[in-house]
């Protein structure tokens, strides 16, 4: 196996030392079954608005989270005091609150040792990015927006994180990752535009290009018109697809099905989306990020969730898998928890239609940059409400003709994914309503706008 990519914040050896100290404290209290999550991170974020940097922060933190398992009882205690006394106290706390419970017959023993795929998502230059480097990139981006006589607001962040999960049954999982984000809103007199990118390697981000995109959207949507709400053909850019469709994936969970709180209850194996919808969860996808194991240290397995519009699978924590008689997929959250598991590395297969062609093939419709404040209206029909924001355009006769005032939508995701007329190639998309995923832009028929706001 190749050597692990380590973060200097939390070398593998240090995580093992911490676990050894925790295990010793457990043994001293007569508890042999212990699981530890050891984490560390540095995150820095330069924030700008009104064409100036107005907030600029960095934080460094570490933690130890211990789960004690005692005769069918379990509890978790967490601390950021990682000296010997802090470690001893957190172990004793986990043991004390576990012992106050009645045994749970469904609780499983600790997970067993496993091998992990090790994606290379740690970039030393990103980890070492300085406040000056971020400030200079921000200054250039602001300059591009100012050149369009607009006002810029946004963030540039860089950081690194490391996480180890170890247990007294041999699990020793470790992962380190860097992450950079640049997001910008360009504000004009009566319009705005937005763009955002994220990448494990800051060199893969182009802040200036994102700034120019945002400024161009603000320019093109100036003087927005109001058109009546109703059902429209829409072209949803990847961020809009992500933030709306991304709301359904918490339901692709065996525990959610068992609880009958998932919209997939009574729908597994059925065709509920269009033929052109294929979704899988793939931690190792080259555009993905995130750790290769779950909250108990089970390796994340690739899993096919939707094929030709048919829901084929959900994901399983160890406990959910035991109850269902299947193998765990490596998507469980740290125990104890109420919600079980969820897919975390989603990939919605794309097509071959660029956004420009989607627009060109639309007689009358709406181009949507991003969506905002999305909340669930109906959990089984999966109706979501929310707003368009920062770049909403009218399409007529195959051309973007003008900006529009923003709409409120009330749209079933099931219906949306049944009405997809075209898909672009999939990209790594980021928004503000859910975590990053790999998704295409979509042209969708009969999208349900119910109201128009004042801008």
């Amino acid at each position: 196996m190749p050597a692990k990519t380590e973060s200097a914040l939390l070398p593998v050896e240090r995580s093992e030392e911490i676990f050894a100290a925790a295990a010793a404290a457990g043994r001293a209290s007569g508890v042999l079954n212990l699981e530890a999550m050891v984490g560390a991170g540095i995150h820095a974020l330069t924030r700008f608005a009104n064409n100036t940097i107005h907030q600029n922060v960095a934080d460094r933190s570490g933690y130890l989270s211990v789960r004690a398992l005692i005769d069918g009882r379990t509890a978790r205690a967490t601390t950021n005091r990682l000296d010997r006394d802090g470690i001893k106290r957190v172990v004793e706390q986990a043991i004390a609150i576990a012992r106050l419970q009645e045994p749970d017959p469904e609780l499983l023993p600790l997970a067993a040792a496993a091998d992990y795929f090790e994606p290379k998502r740690y970039f030393a230059k990103t980890a070492a990015a300085t406040p000056d480097e971020r400030a200079k990139a921000v200054r250039e981006a602001i300059g591009a927006v100012e050149a369009a006589s607009q006002t810029a607001a946004g963030i540039y962040s860089t950081g690194e994180s490391a996480l180890a999960i170890l247990n007294s049954n041999g699990v020793s999982a470790y992962y380190a990752e860097t992450m950079a984000q640049f997001s910008i809103t360009a504000l004009a007199k009566d319009s705005s535009g937005w763009a955002k990118g994220t990448a494990c390697n800051a060199a893969d981000l182009n802040p200036l290009e994102l700034a120019l995109t945002a400024a161009s959207k603000a320019t093109d949507s100036a003087g927005p018109a109001e058109i009546a709400p109703g059902r429209y053909t829409v072209v949803l850019e990847p961020s809009a697809v992500l933030d709306l469709v991304g709301q359904m994936f918490g339901d692709f969970s065996a525990t959610a099905l068992r609880d009958e709180r998932s919209f997939l209850t009574d729908r597994i194996g059925k065709k509920i989306f269009g033929d052109n919808i294929h979704i899988h969860d793939q931690m190792g996808h080259p555009l993905q990020s995130g750790m290769p194991f779950d909250g108990e240290g089970v390796p994340r397995e690739p899993i096919r969730l939707v094929e030709n519009g048919v829901v084929r699978n959900v994901v399983y924590s160890r406990q959910a898998a035991r109850l269902a008689g299947v193998k765990p997929t490596g998507h469980g959250f740290p125990l104890p928890n109420e919600i079980g598991e969820a897919p975390m590395n989603l990939v919605i297969s794309g097509g071959e239609t660029p956004v420009e062609e989607m627009i060109a093939s639309t007689k009358r419709g709406v181009l949507v940059t991003r969506l905002w404040y999305i909340r669930e209206v109906d959990p089984y029909q999966k109706i979501m409400t929310g707003m368009t924001r920062d770049g909403t355009f009218l399409i007529e006769d195959g051309r973007v003709v003008r900006g529009l005032k923003n709409f409120r939508f009330n749209q079933s995701i099931i219906e949306l994914l049944s009405n997809v007329e075209a898909l672009s190639p999939a990209v790594r998309a980021s928004g503000e309503e859910t975590f990053d995923m790999v998704v295409p832009a979509m042209k969708v028929g009969e999208f349900n706008f119910t109201e128009v706001t004042r801008f």
Partner: protein
């Protein structure tokens, strides 16, 4: 702890800054929950760290660390100053702060029972009793109950000479019954959705809420919703319970009055505000019976926004926001107060922990009680009465909102005529508040806690308080969530 905070402040001041403050924070939290007869979560956490905020060369820098060794504190102070100097590379104007006094104080929020003194097995026994009571109704397919307790001690030290030691206890408790039947999921929550009621109290809150006593009714309502008729679409007079009205205040008054939003500093994420500066003292925000305050003082009640000093060391205050329907005030900070010609901050800067900077956040933004009795609020020929939030959404300037509630009843001649499912209403913030026709009096006023308000980049989650009593609104758009 005070010495550590003072050392950190000294480390920053030594570097020649023009202003600095330090917040050293120790938190302890416990979460206990049950789900369908089993433990959902039993966990506890402690955290200790500090954040150093400096103003240098007219620009802000901030660094936070949980390494409280002398070396760790020096490194954080040096980084905060380095960041401030980098900020100055892209500044337009120097930051100028409104003056503030030097304060030395110790304060602990009043509690009757330390929530951490109640053992976990006793917490679980209560939650399992609720769970059993909910699932006694066979139509309930998922029962969830939870408790959450937090103790938050903060030492604030600033280069103005302030040294403030403040400890706040918060408690939250609630439960939800879900019912799945024939392709429909319904739910009812008590005393509120999203974790129940949350206040600046000890364990006494749990005892006051009468959780077990209300479980059979909540279970029965969750199941009965399947048989109820769909909330119609159209226009109607609308009566809201105080918890839903609390969230309505939060979204359509609380966020728009944040002066940082108004000035554009949240434009990339949380958004801006329709309350541009020209509207101060000129906008009719609501009808004449609408009076709203932003009040962090203990006298206002045990809210999630109650404290002695904010995170800039400014004393807790009460500020009129809407007076007799007229918009008269924003929430401000030391940096933003001059923009509205105020000599001082009105004390609303709060951070969600040691690793984050303070932002303007709602304290307790509350609708003052009205003069009507509850019977008078309901005394209409026809209206729809909605209870308990289910979904909430509003645009990024806070004009257009839509709320869904868990349950509604059609009101005829002042009485509940029939239950309605899937209720929702929508509108424009100022039009909604100008339609306010009746507000129940102080006997029906409750200070609700919203524990999950998000704002800022990196995002911060804050608890806010909202007092309200049941109120009636004229001619509101109903049911559009299911329209089309």
């Amino acid at each position: 702890m005070k010495q550590i905070a003072q050392n950190a402040l000294d480390a920053a001041v030594r570097r020649g800054i023009s202003y600095g403050d330090v917040r050293l924070i120790e938190t302890e939290e416990r979460q206990v929950s049950t789900k369908n007869g089993r433990i959902g979560n039993v966990s506890s956490s402690v955290s200790l760290g500090l954040g150093i905020r400096v103003l240098d060369r007219g620009a802000w820098g901030f660094a936070a660390t949980d390494d409280l060794t002398a070396g760790g504190i020096e490194a954080a102070a040096a980084l905060a100053v380095e960041i401030a100097r980098a900020s100055a590379l892209a500044k337009k104007l120097d930051v100028v702060l409104a003056p503030e006094g030097k304060h030395e104080a110790e304060w602990t929020s009043p509690i009757r029972t330390d929530p951490f003194s109640v053992p976990v097995d006793q917490n679980l026994a209560l939650l399992f009793s609720i769970d059993t009571e909910l699932r006694r109704n066979k139509g309930v397919t998922l029962a969830e109950a939870s408790l959450i307790f937090e103790r938050h001690r903060q030492i604030f030290a600033s280069s103005l000479g302030s040294l403030i030691d403040q400890t706040r206890y918060t408690t939250g408790a609630g439960f939800t019954a879900h019912s799945f039947r024939e392709g429909e999921i319904q739910k009812r929550s008590y005393p509120n959705s999203f974790g129940g009621q949350h206040q600046l109290k000890g364990y006494e809150l749990v005892e006051e809420l009468r959780l077990l006593e209300n479980a059979p009714r909540i279970a029965a309502e969750a199941v009965a919703l399947h048989s109820a008729e769909q909330c119609p679409e159209g226009r109607s007079d609308l009566i809201l319970d105080s918890s839903q009205l609390g969230l309505q205040i939060h979204e359509s008054i609380g966020h728009p009055i944040e002066l940082d939003r108004v000035l554009g500093t949240e434009a990339n994420y949380a958004g801006m505000s329709f309350l541009t500066l020209d509207k101060l003292n000129h906008l009719r925000y609501g009808s004449e019976i609408v009076n709203v305050v932003c009040d962090a003082r203990v006298e206002h009640g045990p809210g999630l926004g109650t404290f002695a000093f904010d995170d800039e060391g400014v004393p807790a205050q009460s500020t009129d926001i809407i007076r007799d329907g007229q918009f008269v005030g924003y929430m401000t900070s030391r940096e933003t107060a001059p923009a509205v010609h105020e000599p001082h901050s009105n004390g609303t800067m709060r951070a969600d922990g040691w690793a984050r900077i303070p932002l303007i956040r709602m304290t307790n933004v509350s609708l003052k009680p009205g003069r009507q009795t509850l019977d008078e609020v309901f005394d209409v020929d026809r209206a729809i009465y909605m209870e308990t939030n289910k979904s909430w959404s509003i645009d990024d300037k806070r004009y257009n909102f839509q709320f869904g509630c868990e349950i509604a009843w059609e009101i005829r001649n002042g009485k509940r005529a029939r239950m309605l499912k899937n209720p929702s209403y929508s509108g424009i913030s100022t039009e909604f508040w100008n339609s306010c026709a009746a507000i129940a009096g102080p006997d029906h006023w409750t200070l609700w806690g919203t524990p999950n308000c998000g704002k800022g980049q990196p995002e911060q989650v804050m608890g806010t308080g909202h007092g309200a009593s049941p109120s009636r609104f004229r001619n509101i758009k109903i049911g559009s969530a299911y329209a089309g």
